[in-house]
């Protein structure tokens, strides 16, 4: 009971003090000294030039100063070199920055080191200062318009963070690398994430908390930071768990890409809108493949004609669960990848390409054998041999149109391809392949004629035999 009363009294007291202080804030009386200084310094045009030709206007907005938390101070409390009624001292500064650093030292006269260091946000800045990189208080807090942090009103968290992070801040890693912590407002504005707050990604950071972290290298920092993406993009994150990049990362290859390497950090864009961007992202590491790709029929169409139908890297390799393309598993998926487009009539009709290419592959020796091998691996868990898939004849990243060269040249190239598996194949051998076409009288007369002959002959024989059998049974029963 007694405690309650004490608390009540304490609350009343606080409320009273609060009301009085606010009543006072309404009609602030500036010091005589300040009023005197402001007679000149509230007017524009007083210029202080530094040795590097930078300059500063010695102008104070009277209104803002009146509104500031320091309005009760005399000017000379901070500008200690200047004493009322005396001549302004003649001081020389190398640069504006040096001036700011010198002037901001005045803050320490009242706000001692321990007091400043108590705020986690300041700890890094102070340790940086010890290393010879001073951060003037005024960079963040302002000078004449300084307000208590509690009374500062930020429109957004972003604005709060940018208060410091729009300045040249750096972070040092154990290996001596540094990373600038300066964030460009323009990149944030252009990002697809412009509506989310800084702490949505930089979790652990807030108005009151600014965790101290200790990374070995800049790369370690990037990898650790990319973990934040999964908090929203969990589906993509689980996919990346299966990707070759993640496997390589797990094996200790820190160069393997994480989310931010492809998507960027503060300037995240929709990559899907402009497919050349995708190819260019992969190029960062896979430049050899990229050079081949841009010369291929698909790459040329993308870069020269801005054709958005053609596949880019992720259409075959996928974006997130990128598999090792050298495995048998991947190889056996290749016809499926190609048929994603090449079995689609709406796409192929635009370019006059037959969708029979996929069907004819799948129903021919190579395609049928591939089908068996796939099933065998699934159900018997037997290692399968390699069998020709699309890329073995058409090339992988170097795919060119068969129409881009004379038929004789195409055939000569085809013989070479055949020989890779069929040792000793001759000039005639590629003709065994009906070039993805259904046999017709014009394209393959021999095959066509034999097929047609049997189409007539088999039903003829079967019907003839069945009729004979029926007649025989009929005669037998009639004779009984």
């Amino acid at each position: 009971m007694e405690g309650m009363v004490r608390k009540l009294i304490a609350l009343l007291f606080i409320a009273a003090v609060f009301t009085i202080s606010h009543a006072e804030a309404g009609n602030v009386v500036l010091s005589d000294e300040a009023l005197g200084c402001l007679q000149c310094h509230s007017r524009r045009g007083i210029i202080k030039t530094f040795e590097n030709k930078e300059y500063l206007e010695a102008y104070v907005e009277a209104e803002k100063f009146t509104d500031s938390v320091h309005n009760w101070l005399k000017c000379s409390d901070c500008h200690t070199d200047f004493l009322p009624g005396e001549q302004h001292p003649d001081r020389r500064f190398a640069s504006r920055e040096q001036y700011k650093i010198r002037t901001a030292l005045a803050c320490r006269r009242c706000h001692n080191f321990e007091q400043i260091n108590n705020i986690p946000l300041h700890t890094r800045l102070l340790s940086d200062e010890e290393a010879g990189n001073p951060h003037p208080c005024t960079n963040c807090h302002g000078s004449h318009a300084v307000k208590p942090v509690s009374r500062k009103t930020y429109k957004s968290e972003e604005q709060y963070c940018l208060n410091c992070h729009s300045h040249k801040l750096t972070m040092e890693f154990r290996d001596g690398e540094t990373l600038t912590l300066k964030t460009e407002v323009s990149s944030l504005q252009g990002s697809v994430h412009k509506r989310i707050s800084c702490s949505d990604c930089h979790f652990g950071f807030s108005h009151s908390s600014h965790p101290q972290r200790n990374f070995r290298s800049r790369r370690d920092f990037s990898i650790a930071n990319s973990e934040t993406c999964r908090r929203c993009h969990f589906d993509k994150y689980t996919k990346t768990m299966d990707s070759i990049h993640n496997v390589m990362l797990g094996q200790g290859n820190l160069e393997a890409p994480v989310c931010t390497d492809c998507h960027g950090s503060h300037s995240i864009l929709h990559l899907g809108r402009e497919r050349t961007l995708i190819a260019n992202k992969c190029r960062t590491c896979h430049s050899v493949v990229y050079e081949k790709y841009i010369k291929s029929v698909h790459g040329k169409a993308l870069f020269d004609e801005n054709n958005q139908d053609v596949p880019v890297c992720i259409d075959c390799h996928t974006a997130h669960d990128i598999k090792n393309p050298l495995t048998l598993d991947y190889r056996e998926q290749i016809p499926d990848m190609c048929s994603n487009c090449h079995a689609d009539k709406t796409i192929m009709n635009k370019y006059g390409i037959s969708t029979d290419v996929v069907k004819s592959y799948l129903s021919n020796f190579h395609g049928v054998t591939l089908r068996f091998y796939r099933k065998q691996r699934e159900e018997l868990d037997k290692p399968a041999k390699q069998i020709a898939v699309c890329t073995d004849c058409h090339g992988i990243h170097t795919i060119i149109s068969t129409r881009s060269a004379a038929p004789a040249i195409v055939k000569a190239r085809l013989v070479k391809r055949c020989k890779q598996c069929h040792e000793g194949a001759t000039e005639n051998f590629p003709d065994a392949w009906l070039s993805h076409y259904k046999p017709t009288m014009a394209s393959a007369p021999l095959v066509f004629i034999i097929n047609q002959a049997y189409r007539i002959f088999i039903p003829f024989m079967v019907i003839g035999i069945v009729l004979q059998i029926l007649l025989h049974i009929w005669r037998y029963t009639a004779n009984k």
Binding site: V368, L380, F429, P439, V447, I450, I458
Partner: protein, 244 residues
């Protein structure tokens, strides 16, 4: 020896028949699994044999066995016919064509009795030559498909898909002929049902010889063909022939 049974096939012919039957069965099962590869039953067969590669090996070696049996038979037949040990009873003659017409007329009730056939009737000759020729066609096209690189050294490339089309179609044709014609004639035909014992015991009844191979029976027994016809036990035929 039983008077009512006539020896038709020697032990060698019976062994030959059943060896060929087994080879044929292996070829049909492994061949159909490849032809109708989308069916579950095909997958089952392939997996039983340990995968498509083994199935193809089995099919090819069965093909070699088929060639061996067929070639051996053809050589034996040629040698025996040439040396006079066998009558050329499988030779297709003009009578076979008239027998077809005669039998169709008999089935339709136009003629009173069926054709008077010799050791082999036209149906048996058709099956025999069909199987023999098909075996050579299947082996030839099969070899082309087995060794495409060798054959394209001196043949144009489109021989390979042509051989493929022929192999697959002809295989189906011969299977249908055997499954319908041969199985009917030797099992389901009411004249032999439940089974023709010829290829089990080598003998068939004298009664069947009278009806099906009267010309041969007449030769064996030194009678005229009319004497044999008179033994017809089929009442309807006897009525129509006025033999009673």
């Amino acid at each position: 020896m039983d008077e009512n049974r006539i020896r038709r096939f020697s032990a060698w012919r019976i062994v030959e028949h059943w060896v060929f039957t087994m080879i044929f069965a292996v070829l049909v099962v492994t061949g159909l699994a490849q032809k109708f590869y989308t069916l579950d039953i095909s997958m089952w067969v392939i997996f039983r044999l340990g995968g498509i590669d083994y199935l193809r090996l089995v099919h090819r070696y069965a093909g070699i066995a088929c060639l061996a049996v067929t070639a051996l038979h053809a050589a034996t037949a040629l040698a025996c016919v040439a040396s006079g040990r066998w009558r050329p009873s499988m030779a297709i003659t003009g009578k076979d064509f008239s027998d077809v017409v005669r039998n169709i007329k008999y089935y339709l009730g136009i003629k009173g009795r069926p054709a008077l056939c010799d050791r082999y009737n036209y149906r048996q000759k058709f099956e025999y030559w069909g199987v023999l020729l098909s075996a050579f066609i299947m082996v030839a096209t099969g070899l082309v498909l087995w060794f495409p690189i060798f054959f394209t050294r001196f043949l144009p490339g489109d021989v390979i898909p042509a051989a493929q089309v022929m192999h697959t179609n002809h295989g189906l044709l011969i299977l249908l002929i055997i499954a319908l014609w041969h199985i009917y004639n030797s099992i389901f035909s009411p004249e032999v049902f439940p089974v023709d014992p010829g290829m089990f015991t080598g003998h068939i009844s004298r009664e069947r010889m009278v009806r099906e191979h009267p010309a041969e029976l007449a030769r064996i027994e030194g009678k005229t063909i009319h004497e044999i016809i008179e033994e017809y036990n089929d009442t309807k035929i006897r009525e129509r022939l006025d033999l009673n």
